[in-house]
Amino acid sequence: METAVVTAINSLMLSAMYILVALGFALLFSIAGILNFAHGALYMLAGYICYIVAVEFGINPWVALAGTIIVMGLLGLFLERFLFRPFWGNLNRTIVTAIAIIVILETGINVSLGAGVLKQIPDFASGLIETSTFRFSVERLVIFAVSAILLAFMVWFITRTKLGLRMQAIAQEREGASLQGINIYRVAAFTFALGCMLAAVAGCFMGSLYNLDPFMGELMLLKIVEVVILGGVGSIAGILVGGLMLGTIDAVLPQFVSGQATQAIALGIIILFLLVRPQGFFGRLV
C-alpha cells in the first residue's frame, strides 16, 4: 500500500515533467512546423544555468528558477530568429541546425561542468511528510503541485487567451491564419520562447531531484518523441495522455524489472502502438 502511494506520486510527478517538456516541443512543431531536436539539450542547459546561479552564486533555488526561466525565454527568442527561421519548411536543414546546437551545448557543458563531483540543484522544499503508513518527501509534492498548476495555466492560456487562440489558428491552418492578419513569425518566436521556458522549469526541477548530467537532454528527447508519438501530433490532450502513460510506465516498471528492461519494454509498446495506430491517441494522420 505504501509503495503504491509513493509510486503513484512519483508517476504523477514524472508525467508532469515529461508533459512540460513535450508540450513545448509539440507546440513548436504544430505551430511553427519546426522539429526542434535540440529541445532536450535546452532542457539540460536550463538545469545547469539554474545550478550555476543557485550553487555558484548561492541564491535561493526559487529565485534561480525564475532567473533561469527568463534567460531561457530570451535564448528561445534568439534561437528562433537566427537559427531556425531561415530554415522554415526545410526539414533537412532544421535537423542539421538542431544537431549542431546539441553538439555545441553538450560539449560546452561537458568540458566546463561535466566532470568531477556530481552536480545537483539544492532542494526546492525540504522535509518529509510522515504518517503512520508512509512517508515521502515534500519536495516531490511541491514540484508536482507547481507543475500541475503550470500545466493547467498552459491549457487555459491556449484555449482562452487571444494569443493562445492565435496559436491554435496557426496550428490548424497556417496560411489562413496569416491571411487573417496574425503575425505568424511573432507567434512562432513566442512559442519557441514558451517552449524553452517550460523546458527550463522541468530542467530545474529534475536537476534538483536527480543529478545533472550533460547528456540528460538526449534521454529527455527520447521521452519527448515517445510522448508526442503516443499522444498524436497536433493534440494537446494527446500530450497529456501520452505523458501520463509514459510517466506511469517509467515509475511503475522499474519496481519489477531493471531500468534498461523498462526502456526496452516501453520502446516495444510504442513501436507496436505506432504500427497499429500511426496517428497516436488523438492526432491527425500526417
Binding site: L35, P86, F87, N92, R93, I95, V96, T97, I99, A100, I101, V103, I104, E106, T107, G108, N110, V111, E218, L222, V225, I229, V233, Q260, Q263, A264, L267, G268, I270, I271, L274, L275, P278, V286
Partner: protein, 327 residues
C-alpha cells in the same frame, strides 16, 4: 530537391570518369608515400563511412529518413564477428554472411515499417536502432554486451597496408555498384517516391516493393562494410552503432549534398577528416564538427557539392554577367 550534379567543365561523359579514375589511382599509390599507420587508419575509417553514407543515401532518396543506419552497420559487424568467433569460420566467409543477414533484417524491417511515412518512419527507425543496441546487450553471452567484443579474427596481419587496399577495393566496388543501381531503370523509381508517392503509385510503381528494395540495397552495403570493419578493428562496442552515429551518418549525407551521388562522399570526407585533424583539441573537437555543420548549413544550401556552383555564380555576379539583378 534539385539534382545538382558535380559540375565539371567540359564533356561530363569523359571528364567525370577520368576525374574519379585519377582519384582512385592517387588513393592506390598513397601507401607508397604515407607510411604512418595513423593516417592509413584515418583513410580506412573514411572509406568505411563513405560506403555507409552512400548506402544511406540510397535509402534517403526514396523518401525514407532512416536513423537506424549505424544500427545496420552494427548488425553486419556483430554478425560477422560472432560467426567468426563462435564458429571459427574464416572472415572471408563471415563478412558476406554478415552482409546478407543485415540485408535480410533490413528487408524485414522495411516491410514492417512500410505502413508509415516521413516523420513517423524516422521515429520508428530511431526506436529500432535503440532496440538493436538492447538486443546486443541481451545476448551478451555471445556479443559481450555493453563492454563489447574483443579478439575478433583479423583479415590480415599486423600491417595496415593490406587492410587499406582491401577497404579501398570494397569502397570502389560498392560505389560503382551503388552508382549503377541509382541510374538503372529500377533505381530511378526510388526518387519518384520521394517526390510524390501518389503520382508514383498512379503510374504503377509499387510503393512497398520499391521502399523495401531501397532499404535492402542500402542495408547490404552498410552490412558489408560493417562486417569488414569488424575484422579490421578486432574490437566492437555497441555505442559505435547507436542512434548518435546514425545521426552523424545522416549529417554526412546532408552536408555533402543529398541531391548528388558525390555528395555523401565529399560530406563524409570533410566531416571525418577535418575533426580528426583537430584531434589535439581533445574535448573541444566536437565544436569543430558543429561549426562545420553550421557554416555549411547556412552558406551552402546544396551542400558541399554545390560549392563550385556557388562560387561560380558569385563570381559571375561580381563580373556583372547576371543581368537579372537590379542595380
Amino acid at each position: 530537391m534539385s539534382d545538382s550534379q558535380l559540375y565539371v567543365k567540359g564533356d561530363n561523359k569523359i571528364t567525370k570518369p577520368a576525374l574519379y579514375t585519377g582519384l582512385v589511382i592517387l588513393l592506390a599509390i598513397l601507401p607508397l608515400f604515407v607510411k604512418s599507420p595513423y593516417y592509413l587508419n584515418v583513410c580506412i575509417l573514411t572509406f568505411t563511412y563513405i560506403v555507409a553514407a552512400v548506402s544511406l543515401r540510397v535509402i534517403l532518396i526514396s523518401g525514407q529518413t532512416s536513423l537506424a543506419h549505424a544500427a545496420f552497420m552494427g548488425i553486419g559487424a556483430y554478425t560477422s564477428a560472432v560467426l567468426a568467433k563462435e564458429l571459427g569460420w574464416t572472415p572471408w566467409i563471415c563478412i558476406p554472411l554478415g552482409a546478407l543477414v543485415t540485408t535480410g533484417i533490413g528487408i524485414l524491417v522495411a516491410f514492417i515499417f512500410s505502413r508509415v511515412r516521413a516523420l513517423l518512419f524516422g521515429m520508428l527507425t530511431i526506436f529500432f536502432g535503440m532496440g538493436i543496441i538492447y538486443v546486443i546487450q541481451v545476448f551478451s553471452k555471445w556479443t559481450g554486451g555493453y563492454a563489447g567484443i574483443m579478439g575478433i579474427t583479423p583479415l590480415f596481419g599486423i600491417s595496415k597496408v593490406p587492410y587499406y587496399y582491401f577497404f579501398l577495393g570494397i569502397t570502389v566496388v560498392s560505389l560503382l555498384a551503388l552508382y549503377r543501381f541509382e541510374f538503372c531503370r529500377i533505381g530511378k523509381t526510388l526518387k519518384t517516391l520521394d517526390q510524390s508517392y501518389l503520382v508514383a503509385s498512379s503510374v504503377g510503381i509499387d510503393e512497398v516493393k520499391t521502399r523495401v528494395l531501397a532499404v535492402g540495397v542500402g542495408s547490404f552495403f552498410v552490412g558489408l562494410i560493417g562486417a569488414a570493419y569488424a575484422h579490421y578493428t578486432l574490437v566492437l562496442s555497441p555505442t559505435s552503432f547507436g542512434v548518435l552515429q546514425s545521426i552523424y551518418l545522416v549529417m554526412y549525407v546532408l552536408i555533402g549534398g543529398l541531391g548528388s551521388f558525390a555528395g555523401p562522399i565529399i560530406g563524409t570526407a570533410v566531416l571525418v577528416i577535418i575533426p580528426e585533424a583537430f584531434r589535439g583539441l581533445k574535448g573541444y573537437s566536437p565544436f569543430i564538427f558543429a561549426g562545420l555543420l553550421l557554416i555549411i548549413n547556412f552558406l551552402m544550401p546544396q551542400g558541399l557539392v554545390g560549392l563550385p556552383q556557388l562560387i561560380r555564380s558569385r563570381l559571375e555576379h561580381r563580373k556583372g554577367k547576371g543581368g537579372t539583378h537590379a542595380p
